[in-house]
Symmetry: none
Subunit: 125 residues, 2 copies
């Protein structure tokens, strides 16, 4: 656990919405940390691979990250423009996917569900 990792974790901890690698890097610099952009990218990649971070691609092409607050399985409603996120309960989805196990003979069923849209703020611009 390096100094840079601790610093990034801190910033991720404090932000509630999805943030881009560059935004996170800028915040680190603003706080006086000396961190390379490539390092931030590397850290974010590791975090996402390890399942500690959720990632999504914005309309602009950047990837945005957020620490996953809930441990249990859940989904997000995410603004495609600014990354603002709402956590969703999805009992319907869980039930829906369960049904496939017997119906199609599939096992170990998993699912990825991302709901995206434009939040009230971004829609007016």
């Amino acid at each position: 656990m390096t100094v840079q990792q601790r610093a990034l974790n801190e910033v991720l901890e404090e932000s509630t919405d999805f943030a881009s690698a560059q935004e996170l890097h800028a915040r680190l610099i603003a706080r006086g940390h000396r961190v390379g952009l490539a390092t931030v990218y590397a850290q974010l990649r590791r975090g996402a691979d390890a399942g500690e971070l959720d990632s999504m691609r914005a309309d602009t092409g950047e990837v945005r990250f957020r620490r996953c607050g809930q441990r249990s399985h859940h989904h997000h409603l995410i603004c495609r423009t600014c990354g603002h996120a709402v956590e969703l309960d999805a009992p319907e989805i869980e039930a829906w996917t369960k049904g496939f196990e017997s119906r199609y003979g599939f096992t170990e069923i998993d699912h990825i569900v991302e709901v995206t849209g434009l939040c009230a703020n971004c829609a007016t611009e």
Copy 2:
């Protein structure tokens, strides 16, 4: 309406899934059309602006296009091992996502749903 536009329309007409600008360009070249990549991008942009094309950003970062309104939205149940796919109807999902428009003030809501598992064949191996 130029020759290149007619050619691209033809290719879009024939493809049922979302295709990237580069894929579409490659298909045009494969058919013997002399078209520049920049032209394909320009055409796709115009088509999307005019509402004739749906566009979405893939995980890889490319933008993929599809002619609008053909074929209703659906999802797949895909085997993680052999790639075997089953088409799914998802009325529950559609209804579920619709509810968010008013509840959270989001507009233009879209969703990505991927259901994966092991098919009967692959599970026994």
